[in-house]
Assembly symmetry: C2
Homo-oligomer: 356 residues x 2
């Protein structure tokens, strides 16, 4: 098979530990399915700040640009929290999204059987919840002009939220396409009763909607969406929204499933290229102890196989292996009911590798 180049940026905290297990899984799929990967590692985030003086070194970016897909662990930690902006891990994250043109963040929020009880929502409310938040990732208030100035009432700060019709159209079309492959329902979230960018958003959605007559569309105001996610999570299929709202709602949606330690995500641009990472963070409090749960990262590989490479057989094998291992009762500490029986990161990785 032709060799796929994978840029690996393990990052900080538990990043390197969980990424190591995901790579073992990828290697196993080489043996079993005959796929071929070439891994190139780059520094990113806090560790890159420490070693190279910048969260996103040029050569890391070069490695990503040459690659067919990027596997990311996690970035950040208290060590860098009070750094100036240019020396913060998040700045690297925003930089890499922009530099790689990753305008779409795909965040599935579904419930794992073994974690049903972990949610703070009642099981009967959660029942059947399986949604995807499609978040615009390179526009809006994240990337608009930002500055300080002196005003009549003292120092003033300004952020600018900008969207053009092309940016809105490409993310909305992608969301419609995804909805088509699922339960055919799309909720477009905006604040059209207040924001001009939201009015452009809604107009664009309405203009495009006739191209997808098979998809049922609803417009939901962002404040109402924050409520409805709690009220009727299972009624959502695909949610599409702008960058800032997507940041908030995708985290709310992830948390309500109770499965945040198991959720994967994809950031996509034009074409098949994508960056894949677990939804959970770098968890500095448990880093280096070998107890982190590698499943979200391993499932991010499955997502990569599906969305970037079309390796559906291997993706399914990974997902099945994860389910098998969980069904057999194996748990890392974060998801174990009886913590004394919890297994470590490599043990969990190995079990999944063996189940493929």
């Amino acid at each position: 098979a032709d060799v796929k180049k994978i840029a690996v940026i393990a990052g900080d905290g538990i990043g390197p530990e969980v990424v190591a297990e995901a790579i073992k899984v990828m290697k196993k799929t080489e043996d079993v399915f005959g796929y071929r990967f070439e891994f190139e590692h780059g520094l990113f985030g806090g560790i890159a700040i420490d070693e190279k003086g910048t969260p996103l070194p040029e050569d890391t970016l070069a490695i990503c640009k040459k690659a067919d897909a990027v596997l990311l662990g996690a970035v950040g930690g208290p060590k860098w929290d009070n750094n100036p902006k240019e020396l913060r891990p998040e700045t690297g994250l925003l930089g890499i999204r922009k530099a790689l043109g990753l305008f779409s963040n795909i965040r599935p929020a579904n419930v794992f059987d073994c974690l049903k009880e972990a949610s703070t929502l009642k099981p009967e409310v959660l029942e059947g919840t399986d949604l995807i938040v499609v978040r615009e990732l390179t526009g809006g208030i994240y990337f608009g002009e930002k500055f300080r100035r002196e005003g009549a009432n003292g120092e003033e700060a300004v952020d600018t939220c900008v969207y053009n019709v092309t940016e809105v159209e490409r993310i909305v079309r992608q969301a419609f396409e995804i909805a088509r492959t699922r339960r055919k329902k799309l909720a477009s979230v905006d604040k059209a009763n207040v924001l001009e960018t939201s009015r452009l958003w809604r107009e664009t959605v309405n203009r495009i909607a006739p191209d997808y007559p098979d998809v049922e569309l609803e417009h939901v105001l962002v404040d109402n969406c924050a409520m409805q996610l709690l009220r009727r999570p299972s009624s959502f299929d695909v949610i599409v929204t702008e960058n800032m709202f997507g940041d908030i709602l995708s985290d709310e949606a992830a948390m309500l499933t109770g499965s945040i330690g198991m959720l994967s995500s994809a950031s996509l641009g034009e074409g098949a290229f994508g960056l894949y990472e677990p939804v959970h963070g770098s968890a500095p409090d448990i880093a280096g102890q070998g107890i982190a749960n590698p499943i979200a990262t391993i499932l991010s590989v499955a997502l990569m196989y599906r969305l970037t490479f079309g390796y559906h057989d291997a993706a399914e094998a990974i997902e099945r292996a994860v389910k098998e291992v969980l069904d057999a009762g194996h748990r890392t500490g974060d998801i174990a009911v009886d913590k004394s029986k919890a297994i470590g990161t490599t043990a969990m990785g190995e079990l999944i590798v063996n189940a493929i």
Copy 2:
């Protein structure tokens, strides 16, 4: 006693029905406690659009400006949803906030015993939840410059988020003061890892914090707050945040209590003047049927008595009366377990009036 002027803007949908009961309650407190109110009614929202061609007529604003407090029902409905901006009820809402200088929105989110089961959260998670969201209400992206322009990639929309240090300081000080009267915990919510306005916000909070050494302060990123509200709602006491984040988080917090039909809110400016309204909307689907729950509006009167007039005895009497009536098992349809036994709006109002 000296006569307090109350501007009454009943608005749309169930607004007039619930406000009528709240006024009966106020009249009862005149009899019992000797307070004196003078009511002046103004058109506002959809009904004002229909009758006067604008959601916030000049004379309504004049009535509010002369008043000591405003009692608002609810505004909006599908009838006006597709109107141009100047002819939408929400435009009236934004206009009145700005015109009256109501920079602070106080949104208590607490759980009513009789509604514990109505929440989609597990009772053990909800246990003890009693928080207040203090939302900045006249700044940020709501009121910054908004416009369209032609860009290189087609039509572009722009919203501007602006905060000056004076605006941030006054709302944050108010939140610290409120925290002082409660469990002495303040969570300041921002997105300081991305937004310049949030960095100004956080700097200002940190500069002011030493004046309130008795209040425990934490900074929470908005995406994390959306998660923590679900994870550990009872750990929050006072949450202070900017306008857009406050819109989303206060609705999320209200919904998780399960008591959204019972929650009141206050919008305050400098001095004692305030606008009081239920958190629920105009519920056009049940308007005119006499079945709406008047309790949130009645409790908004109690909030008015406390925050604007310092009538703590009457406030307590109202709150006690509501509790008594609920404890006796009386329910409107929205909160009834056995819907066949539900009582109507005026019956509920009367029971509460009689219990004062």
